[in-house]
């Protein structure tokens, strides 16, 4: 039992610690979905940082252009944050399953961090993570009203064709 738990609450916590029994139906539904999805794509190969920055710049330019008809609707979305004191910055959100390691930002100059993420049309909640622990919302985007437990997050909406 956690040592800072008041003694009068120990029985209460014990009542909450029972674990649900195995759920064969849920297991099978998850595996059926996994089979349908196929083998997950592996992470990208490591590439030099300079190449990443160049690629991000190209994608940022592309975002200003109209997306061609009939192509993959995913489009590059740039995210920028001013965080001069941060040593590292990443972005977590619905699009990368809140994985801090998945989408690091690149430093551009002394104060600015940025990354470009390819997003299909949809609504995404996200936050920036500074130095692995400090979550901050994007000051340049609307706040997400449905994800506020004290961890500020923002929302970005990517419109589809004809939207």
């Amino acid at each position: 039992m956690t040592d800072d738990l008041p003694p009068e609450l120990e029985a209460f916590v014990t009542g909450l610690r029972t674990t649900p029994s195995a759920n064969a139906a849920l297991r099978e539904r998850v595996l059926a979905s996994a089979r349908g999805l196929g083998v997950p794509r592996r992470s990208r190969l490591p590439v030099p940082r300079s190449l990443l920055i160049g690629l991000a710049a190209v994608l940022a330019v592309l975002v200003l252009r109209r997306h061609p008809e009939g192509r993959d609707p995913a489009r590059p979305v740039p995210f920028v944050l001013m965080a001069p004191k941060a040593v590292r910055v990443s972005i977590v959100g619905d699009f990368n399953d809140w994985d801090q390691a998945a989408t690091p930002l690149q430093r551009a100059g002394e104060h600015t961090w940025w990354v470009v993420v390819n997003l299909p049309p949809g609504r995404y909640r996200y936050s920036f993570v500074l130095d692995g622990t400090h979550w901050v919302a994007d000051p340049a985007a609307p706040r997400a009203a449905d994800n506020d437990f004290g961890a500020e997050s923002s929302v970005v909406t990517i419109l589809g064709k004809g939207s």
């Binding site: 956690t2 209460f12 449905d146 994800n147």
Partner: protein, 176 residues
């Protein structure tokens, strides 16, 4: 020998999709417990857990710290639970316990799971979340901060408020 999470994930990425079942079996109990306690509904918890497991599967290839699967998965599950609670709020379809709702009691006091679940439902969702991660899931404040995105000092304040509220509820229940 029991394979580690990293070894299981490597098997999945090598094409053995069904090996993901090992991960599901390994963690179902604790994750289902957290979701059930957080949402107060077995059906909602099952749906949130299933959705989180599928999201995690899809992201397995991009996830690099494979021996830390549980910590990573908690983040996904916590966010799924938050989404469910937010949807409930928006739809106003949930029937939250009301102030005059009968307090479940027993001769033995507040020791049963039913009473514990009722007490937990009285906590605000943000306090309930950190209370569960700290005292039921036995996670450190550093781990909870990484999972929830809330600073450690704010987490400790929530725990303090939650504990105080639970004490009050316990006293009320035992006085009845």
């Amino acid at each position: 020998m029991t394979p580690t999470d990293g070894e299981v994930i490597a098997r999945v990425l090598a094409g053995d999709v069904d090996a993901y079942g090992i991960i599901v079996d390994r963690y179902h109990g604790r994750f289902a417990r957290f979701a059930t306690r957080m949402l107060g509904s077995r059906e909602d918890a099952e749906e949130a857990l299933q959705d989180a497991l599928i999201r995690a599967y899809r992201a397995l290839g991009a996830y690099q710290h494979r021996e830390r699967f549980a910590a990573w998965f908690y983040r996904i599950l916590v966010n799924r639970c938050r989404s469910v609670l937010a949807q409930r709020q928006r739809r106003r379809a949930v029937e939250e316990p009301t102030a005059d709702e009968d307090t479940p009691t027993s001769d033995a006091g507040f020791v049963g799971r039913e009473q514990a679940t009722w007490l937990l439902s009285r906590l605000p969702a943000d306090q309930r979340e950190v209370f569960l991660l700290r005292y039921v899931e036995d996670l450190s404040y550093a781990d909870i901060a990484a999972i929830t995105g809330v600073g450690e000092s704010a987490l400790k304040m929530r725990v303090k408020r939650g504990l105080e509220q639970l004490r009050q509820l316990l006293r009320q229940g035992n006085d009845d």
